[in-house]
Symmetry: C2
Subunit: 321 residues, 2 copies
Amino acid sequence: MARLAGVSRATVSYVLNNTSAVRISEPTRRRVQEAARELGYVPHAAARSLRAGHSRMVLMPAPNVPVGPLYSQFINEFQWALSRLDYTVVQYGGIGLQGDEAARAWAELRPVAVLVPGGGLGPQGVHVLKRSGARAVLTLGPERVDGAHALLLDHDGVGHSAGVHLLARGRRRVGVVMPEEPGLEFLSRPRLKGVRRALSGTGATVTELPLAYEEESAARLAARWRSLGLDAVFAYNDEYAMLLMRALQDEGVDIPGETAVVGADDLILGRLVRPRLSTVHIELPSGCELAELVDRVVREPVGVPEVSQVFGARIVHRASS
Amino acid sequence: MARLAGVSRATVSYVLNNTSAVRISEPTRRRVQEAARELGYVPHAAARSLRAGHSRMVLMPAPNVPVGPLYSQFINEFQWALSRLDYTVVQYGGIGLQGDEAARAWAELRPVAVLVPGGGLGPQGVHVLKRSGARAVLTLGPERVDGAHALLLDHDGVGHSAGVHLLARGRRRVGVVMPEEPGLEFLSRPRLKGVRRALSGTGATVTELPLAYEEESAARLAARWRSLGLDAVFAYNDEYAMLLMRALQDEGVDIPGETAVVGADDLILGRLVRPRLSTVHIELPSGCELAELVDRVVREPVGVPEVSQVFGARIVHRASS
DNA sequence: TTGAAAGCGCTACCAA
DNA sequence: TTGGTAGCGCTTTCAA
């Protein structure tokens, strides 16, 4: 220990933390810092937070599905902003744990705040986290969870925008791509529901179209396309849209004449295909604002609005619809 | 504490850890478990690892650039495999820290193993981590770092494959796209170098082409394309390749007739454009194997080969070259 | 079979 | 200005 290199453990602590309530003489201060550098001393976060009774760790579960550039961008910004506010941000990579069991695993680390995307957290889980000292528990998902601050992601609205748009373009028989890859339901279901909502009462129909993210799967779907009698498709996102659009074109289906195609996420790549892909642009919350919200809740757990609508979705009309 | 609900703290510990060296009577055991559940008791990881003198945390820095599906897939697999081996996997999101400073921040958490992709770690950093108790420090990058186990990613080989291929197709004036987005140099530089190596001594030329990931940037580059007099381009990866290819086509440049285009990463989307995109397929290490390697090094820090070549790159020839 | 107690590294209080 | 020390929650050894 650095103590061996001069003074007492308390003094070391004072110096390394710049404790303002205590004055340490320059020579001592220097001796301590030198010893610390020499020994390669690094404070022990566990001991510190044990003593302090709390940590400055913000925990979020690591996404367990390949996630688009939109969302990774958001995560990066969020992490950056939080580290500016002197938090330690950590993505917990424990896959295989379900809901409240995962919450227990997270709670072991005694994070001061937890941000859970995707609706995999129940009221039980929130309770466990709060009991274990989390001052802020935020969910980023389609619906609010009791006890947590909810950031409502209106994925229903994504589908709704697409549905309204297709309806306005005169389409009446709308297919909705549902990815077969597991783990995406929490996004695809609400989007489907939004399309349904947009079309309900108009006489237009909605058809679910399971699709795996592979060329063969798209080819199979395209092969039976005409038998489905659809005049439009909302393809879950831009990548699935591009996959399907290509397969349809290879099958001789005219786009948008015979079938309109709409994606979502507004990827740059969607502008490169021909016809250019119509898409639903999603406005994610700014990572910085969200970081500030977290900080506010941590410092003042009451008195912060418990629910906020954090993005809008708007159609970007291009040539494919 | 659960202690208030019956017995002594030691007994609680015995029960909750199934300590085999000690026999606890069924009634007591049951009482403890019940109390734990009722109180929502969650063990305190910090206290535990403080006492134990080590943790089972595997730390990796969170990527700070939007990362492709290939790599996220790899991360997911790795995390999954490690959590199966009873490790706690954590991605540390401290952006803004440089090299050895970052290492100190990581060391505060006293991880038992650290995996650092992308070559941002020096021998100093490795030393700090080892001193702080990390039994395994692995780097995943282009070159080995003193003291760490190196998993060599042959990004040079990616460029090399592309260069050899283009040469074999009779191309002599090769452009290489260099992304203008910061943080990608650690990939783009080695890839460029690989192309250079492939072409050196053949009389073929290499031209660096800065390109931002935006349509306008690509359009500007395409507008002066003919003045560059290139007959081939290796576009860093498939996304940049698709971006540039579209801009070239809009400019009337025939692909592959006038200019051959090669990407990298073998994304599904590259197969959807016309002409289909030639690409360099990259074989990342399997997350499972890598997890087992980490485990082996943790348990037996010596006696494990210190360096391994973990992927190969091979050209996938399609229609764009 | 169970309890008492030491001690992991750190910080904050109080005494010197 | 500095040092001594208690105690955060946990595990483990030793004693009862």
